[in-house]
């Protein structure tokens, strides 16, 4: 059984379908990548999973339980799902350590010292312990993304959703984030990542799902999609990527 099973997911904004029947599975320990052009509904898909956006119809099963119904404890669901934003979304009034420890203290009920130790462990895991007293304004983009990842990991989530994690980073930092994701994958962390960055996608996964016009058009090995793009929208997308890379 997959950790996340999404079936016929639809989301309409003002009557306009952004997601129009998405089917996707994420297995435990897997790194699933969803690619697609800007505005194709990638971020909306992620936000439906942790109910930051309410789906219009369809089903999402998380650990075998339906999570789109009205009786679902949304806060409890969100605590099991880490989320990484493209603009990092670090709390700018808190230090790196406090950013990482806040959820542990306020949501997991840990004492200050215990939360700080756990946060420091995660920061250490991502080579950010030396920056623990700094504030977000004094970090580079790559460092901010590491702290955001440490903040998500500290909550010990079942899966981490990554929303365009490299879109605000230069290529060198993007490669660093890719290496980090591969390392975490090796440690058994489950991740669902949406991106339109082909180089990044190929660095973290062999298979990708291609989302366009509100549905998953195809899911296959990147090499197959790259060379054998039968569908015109896929051909168009990857040809554009080829030109830009």
């Amino acid at each position: 059984m997959a950790l996340i099973e999404i079936r016929r997911l639809r989301k309409l904004f003002d009557g306009h379908p952004v997601l129009n029947g998405v089917d996707i599975d994420v297995a435990e320990g897997d790194v699933k990548v969803v690619m697609g052009p800007s505005g194709c509904g990638k971020s909306t898909l992620l936000r439906c999973i942790n109910r930051l956006v309410e789906p219009s119809s369809g089903s999402i099963h998380f650990r075998g339980a339906e999570v789109t119904g009205p009786d679902v404890n949304v806060r409890s669901l969100r605590q099991q799902i880490g989320f990484l934003f493209q603009q990092f979304a670090l709390y700018r009034h808190l230090s790196v350590l406090d950013n990482t420890a806040l959820g542990l203290r306020k949501l997991k009920g840990m004492k200050k010292k215990e939360a700080a130790e756990r946060a420091l462990h995660e920061l250490n895991r991502l080579d950010m312990a030396g920056h623990r007293h700094k504030f977000p304004a004094h970090l580079s983009g790559g460092q901010k993304q590491r702290v955001a990842l440490a903040r998500a990991l500290a909550m010990d989530p079942a899966v981490i959703l990554l929303d365009e994690p490299t879109s605000a980073l230069d290529p060198v930092m993007a490669r660093e984030v890719a290496q980090l994701i591969n390392r975490l994958h090796g440690e058994g962390v489950t991740m669902l990542c949406v991106t339109h960055d082909l180089e990044f996608a190929s660095a973290i996964a062999e298979r990708v799902a291609f989302l366009d016009e509100g549905i998953v058009q195809v899911e296959d090995r990147l090499s197959v999609l790259y060379e054998d793009h039968a569908h015109p929208s896929i051909r168009n997308f990857f040809m554009k990527q080829e030109r830009s890379s």
Binding site: R78, F85, R92, H93, H138
Partner: protein
């Protein structure tokens, strides 16, 4: 009457001036914070409309009219309010309506992505307000709060109309008794200025305590915290 005696009497009035100012500022802060909290924790259309109406009405009423309504009007309805209570319910609440607008602007300056990040961790609306929005709102609001608290100090002489023996009242009494109005009102003005300076020092200490690198005026960003 010796000038030192006059100064002592003015200083005794200054104590009441500070008392009225602190009490009204505390009321304003409580009203402003309650309004900001309600706006974020209960963001229902009826609540938002009620808060907007409160700010609209109380910013439009002159302090003296509301003060007289509370102090001289309410006893007619069987409700007796002390002079300090009347100041808090008039000047304090009106300043609270202004502060509510200052806080509303400051809340809008909090990055929506940070709010979404906190929600995505599983925080409730109250937790998001308390741990993410409130600390940033207070920092963004410092200049607006200084303005409002200064206004409270400058409106505090209205206290004498309901019998509070604050500084302007003392100056009036002394001036009538000695006919040395120029010296007395000049001394009162200087004392008001000293209270204002005290207020500013307090705010600066608070501002320094709250300062976060990367937040606030650009010219302060690189200074050690």
């Amino acid at each position: 009457m010796a000038f030192s005696e006059m100064l002592a009497q003015l200083a005794s009035g200054a104590v009441f001036t500070v008392l009225v100012t602190v009490a009204c500022c505390a009321t304003a802060l409580a009203v402003g914070l309650l309004s900001a909290c309600a706006r974020r924790v209960f963001p229902f259309p009826a609540v938002i409309r009620a808060l907007d109406l409160f700010a609209f009405v109380f910013r439009g009423i002159p302090v003296l009219v509301l003060l007289f309504l509370v102090y001289f009007g309410l006893p007619g309805a069987g409700i007796r309010v002390s002079p300090l209570g009347a100041m808090m319910l008039s000047l304090g609440v009106i300043s609270g309506a202004y502060l509510a607008e200052v806080f509303r602007g400051a809340l809008d300056a909090v990055d929506a992505a940070e709010i979404m990040a906190a929600q995505s961790m599983g925080m409730s609306r109250w937790q998001v307000f308390l741990h993410i929005e409130l600390p940033q709102m207070m920092r963004f609001s410092v200049p607006g709060m200084v303005n409002e608290f200064t206004n409270v100090l400058k409106y505090s002489p209205f206290g004498y109309t309901v019998g509070i023996p604050e500084m302007t009242k003392q100056a009036l009494v002394l001036s009538s008794a000695t006919l040395r109005g120029v010296e007395i009102y000049l001394a009162a003005g200087i004392l008001y200025f000293l209270v204002y300076r005290l207020l500013l020092v307090g705010v600066r200490v608070l501002e320094k305590h709250w300062r976060v690198p990367g937040m606030g005026p650009a010219h302060l960003q690189d200074q050690p915290v």
